[in-house]
């Protein structure tokens, strides 16, 4: 250890002026922090919109708003959460900060391109937000922008879609950057089989980002062309085909859910061995399943369209492939659970969040079987069942993966520790709250309540009330968790470089890491979860 933990590391002033040193930085850690702040801010916006929509659902008919407002709110909740929060979440924030550190690199392969990606993200977000306050009012199409409705609505869809178009390029360039970084910038001795599973997760994700996101760009442009020039690509009145739009949309947007979940799986794979004090069970299988998910996940998009009117043969093929993609996800869950077997488990907050991830993700994953099966999907498609499934997987999965990452790497970023009791409490409150919030949605869906309904029939009232109460419990958990982290950053106890006694390279650096990362290029001599080489203080022997 050459630098005291009290050092400000990469947060130290660079002498260029505060704003310039952040907004035009090439340092991957600072760019990662910029993403993190933006993502958490947009997350706050998305949460508020979600809570308002839930509050409206407390009673049938008008509760706090009119139908147009409600339709705009669920659209904005979806657009904000999907495009501004969940897709960038773990890769852009924690991937940027920790990928080069885990590889023993100075920075990502293309630091200036990395900065440009962040700017594209901010510009895209700004344009998407502009659509709320200009033109014919906030978009009311749902985050899926289905034509022909999105082509005829008078709200400001074109501007919102343009924002999404630009956001897509941010994602593509980040993916490109990560692929090259992982291929070219690994430290000596860091072979592919010694790569931390978080880096493997980012690698699989990066390929989906590079290969699938361009389709989103094409689709977004076609909507704008359709609206502005009246081209008639999708509009049946002009001889176009609305189903074409759905295919194009889901060719990107289904792989996008793997962009959301695979990095979270990487985080979980990194955390569980550290707190079980044991090597991950079946490293190669987990790597293989990440790649299998990335590949097979690109071939299942039309399972969103079983009742769209496409051919029954297509339904059969896509249903089959959907069940195929369930297998690698299940294998991951079995491997994580087996890693706990005969460990010396320390139930610290990151592990509690990681186990929360496994539980909530499984709750979402198994209901995916109901949706992937063609016959049962016919009943629950476009009902609350889908809403519940999606939120279990994305909020319970990616969200908890993000929270786990925050609690795991917090001492590395800040050099301090949060209050662990409060952190664990908040994790448990969140698990309870999310089940209260989303489980009633499964029941509503099975009873036939369609989604995106401003008003509903009286038989659905009790479950709607239960779900809304669940949203309040979730809110309490979120406030508790974030306030605890904020307090920890200011007043938390200072901890050493490696408080969790983890074995990956980022923990060999001071906390916070210095601007130039490694003084000397590290040489890797053991696997990422080989704790035998660590002395009790967590330093390398």
């Amino acid at each position: 250890m050459t630098v005291a933990p009290a050092d400000k590391g990469f947060f130290a002033p660079t002498g260029k002026g505060f704003l310039r040193s952040w907004l035009f930085t090439h340092d991957h850690k600072r760019i990662g922090m910029l993403y993190l702040w933006c993502i958490l801010s947009f997350f706050g916006v998305g949460v508020v919109l979600g809570l308002l929509a839930r509050l409206e659902m407390l009673t049938p008919g008008a509760t706090i708003m009119g139908p147009q407002t409600y339709n705009a709110i669920f659209t904005l909740h979806g657009v904000t959460m999907v495009f501004l929060v969940v897709i960038p979440s773990i890769p852009a924030a924690f991937g940027n900060i920790f990928l080069p550190l885990q590889l023993g690199a100075e920075d990502v392969a293309f630091p200036r391109l990395n900065m440009f990606s962040w700017w594209l993200y901010i510009i895209g977000a700004a344009i998407a937000l502009t659509s709320l306050f200009t033109g014919g009012g906030a978009p009311d199409t749902g985050w899926t922008f289905y034509v022909p409705f999105s082509a005829v609505t008078t709200t400001n869809v074109s501007v919102a879609v343009l924002g999404v178009f630009i956001l897509g390029f941010s994602s593509i360039l980040t993916g490109l950057n990560f692929i090259v970084t992982i291929h070219r910038l690994r430290a000596p001795g860091l072979t592919w089989t010694r790569l931390p599973l978080f880096a493997w997760g980012l690698y699989a994700t990066a390929w989906i980002q590079v290969l699938a996101t361009p389709i989103l760009g094409i689709t977004a442009l076609l909507i704008v062309v359709e609206r502005v020039m009246g081209m008639g690509i999708f509009d049946p009145a002009k001889g176009g085909d609305p189903i074409l739009y759905q295919h194009l949309f889901w060719i990107y947007s289904h792989p996008a859910v793997y962009i959301m979940i695979v990095p979270a799986m990487g985080v979980i794979s990194d955390i569980i061995p550290v707190f079980a004090r044991k090597n991950i069970f079946g490293y190669k299988t987990i790597v293989g399943s990440s790649l299998a998910i990335a590949f097979a996940g690109s071939l299942v998009w039309a399972h969103h369209m079983f009742v769209s009117g496409m051919s029954d043969t297509a339904v059969m093929i896509f249903s089959f492939l959907t069940f195929v993609v369930a297998v690698p996800s299940a294998v991951k869950v079995f491997n994580w659970t087996s890693t706990l077997y005969k460990g010396a488990i320390r139930p610290e907050p990151p592990l509690i969040f990681a186990l929360g991830f496994i539980f909530l993700f499984s709750m979402g994953g198994i209901t995916g079987l109901v949706l992937g099966s063609a016959g049962t999907d016919m009943h629950v498609h476009d009902t609350y069942f889908v809403v519940g499934h999606f939120h279990y997987v994305i909020f319970g999965g990616t969200g908890f993966g993000m929270f786990a990452a925050m609690h795991y790497w917090f001492p590395k970023i800040t050099g301090r520790m949060y209050n662990k009791t409060i952190a664990t409490t908040s994790a448990i409150i969140l698990i309870i709250g999310m089940n209260g919030l989303y489980f009633p949605m499964y029941l509503l869906g099975l009873q036939g309540m369609p989604r995106r309904y401003y008003d509903y029939l009286p038989q659905f009232t009790n479950l709607q009330v239960a779900s809304t109460v669940g949203s309040w419990v979730t809110l309490i958990g979120l406030v508790l968790m974030f306030s605890n982290l904020a307090r920890g950053w200011k007043h938390g106890q200072k901890v050493g470089d490696n408080p969790w006694e983890a074995a990956t390279l980022e923990w060999t650096l001071p906390s916070p890491p210095p601007t130039n990362n490694f003084d000397q290029e590290p040489v890797v001599t053991h696997g990422p979860y080989d704790f035998k080489h660590l002395s009790p203080g967590g330093t390398d022997q």
Binding site: A276, V307, S308, V315, S319, T337, Y341, S373, D455
Partner: protein, 415 residues
């Protein structure tokens, strides 16, 4: 999930049971194991971790077995889907059309209906179509859902084992009143069905429906109102002969009085002349309305006979108060709630904060009532919070009706 009454749906329910049963088993197993490990291998009970890097046979086992199971689940789901998709020969055909935001069911006899009435124990084939955007025909009780795509013919079928009434929902988001696109499936005995079908035939042949009934029947009132307020389209109350500004497709404007010829054109070719400030959303009713019904609608719109007498006006006012949410805070029985009760409000003296400071007494007359709806913050009665939103977006007609209704509950003369 409530009971289904459709034989093919029984296969679907069986698939539900198998898949959900398997899911619950996996969930309980994994969660139980996780919690057990967390307890058993806590570092206090098990301080030294075993050195296990994996077990290839275990992993093969838990890759192969789930693969076999999910293939079985896939097949269960697929075969139930096939049953739902295999439409029996000779099924009774009904055309179902979705449009913003109502349904139209057309029978082979030419009869049309807003609800779907079918005989029990008879396979029914639905030929699905959409007028404007994508809708989705969904009957939870039949486990049946299929999209209605404009420009594309889709179909679906069901057969009900039991009579009854079931909900039909639109399941594909279609804009402002998507959640109002709810109607009823009524399953009746074959005799009742025949009678209903005949009765329909008579309606289209002989007895005249009134103007508002006709407007309702063709879904006009889903977008237009008769009370002077603005819906998705311009209001239809008392418009006969009134002047209107129109925008032609080439962007030029014109003004004309609404005569019968114009009203006909507006219904049969609405895009050709748009009322200024309204979007081109309405579809053409050309070929949708028989001549005599069109005549009935046009003559009603020209003469507008169903204007409210005194009593209905009062009812209308109450309806508006209900729609606007006034009654959430104001009662009509004399007890004050969040806001003062409407009963006895008109004609009473109100003590309100004066703009200059202090309070002043004002008589709650028509002017006062109107102003306190449009700009409530300026006229908050003592003892109440300044919490009421402004209702300045009420159309003059609705505002007038509302105030008249409030005035009808005035304080007795002797007080």
């Amino acid at each position: 999930m409530y009971a289904q009454v459709f034989s093919a749906a029984k296969e679907v329910d069986q698939a539900f049971l198998i898949i959900l049963g398997f899911s619950v088993f996996i969930m309980v197993f994994v969660t139980g194991l996780m919690l057990w490990f967390l307890y058993r291998y806590h570092h206090k009970r098990h301080p030294v971790a075993a050195d296990i890097e994996g077990n290839i046979w275990a992993e093969i086992l838990w890759t192969v077995i789930p693969t076999i199971i999910v293939m079985g689940l896939f097949w269960t789901g697929w075969s139930s889907f096939k049953a739902m998709r295999t439409i029996p020969e000779g099924a009774m055909v009904v055309q179902a059309e979705g449009r913003m935001w109502s349904w139209k069911f057309t029978y082979e006899t030419g009869k049309t209906s807003e609800i779907l009435v079918v005989p029990v124990d008879t396979p029914v084939k639905l030929e699905l179509s959409a007028k404007d955007v994508i809708h989705s025909f969904y009957v939870p009780a039949m486990r049946l859902k299929w999209d209605m795509v404009p420009g594309m013919d889709t179909d679906a079928w069901f057969e009900s084992d039991a009579p009854g009434e079931f909900d039909i929902f639109c399941a594909e988001y279609c804009g402002l009143k998507h959640s109002n696109m709810v109607t009823t499936l009524r399953v009746v005995s074959p005799e009742e069905f025949q009678a209903w079908l005949q009765e329909g035939a008579q309606v289209s042949a002989a007895p005249m429906l009134t103007g508002p009934e006709l407007l309702d029947r063709y879904g006009c009132l889903d977008c237009h109102t008769l009370d002077g307020s603005e819906g998705v389209g311009p209001g239809l109350g008392k418009i006969g002969g009134k002047e209107v500004s129109l925008v032609l497709p080439d962007g030029t404007r014109t003004r004309l009085a609404r005569d019968e010829a114009y009203l006909r054109r507006a219904i049969l070719d609405p895009s050709a002349e748009l009322v200024k400030d309204w979007e081109d959303l309405m579809f053409s009713y050309d070929g949708e309305i028989p001549e005599e019904d069109l005549e009935g609608i046009v003559s009603f719109l020209m003469t507008g006979q169903v204007t409210a007498e005194a009593a209905p006006a009062m009812l209308l006012g109450q309806k508006i108060a209900d729609e606007e949410g006034c009654l959430a805070c104001h009662t009509t029985d004399g007890t004050d709630d969040v806001g003062p009760s409407f009963k006895g409000l008109a004609g009473s003296m109100r003590r309100v904060d004066a703009a200059a400071g202090g309070t002043q007494e004002l008589l709650a007359d028509i002017l006062y009532l109107t102003e306190s709806i449009v700009n409530p913050s300026a006229l908050i009665s003592e003892g109440f919070d300044d919490g009421m939103p402004s209702f300045e977006n009420l159309t003059p007609d609705r505002l007038k009706l509302l105030v008249e209704w409030l005035a009808s509950m005035r304080k007795d003369a002797d007080e």
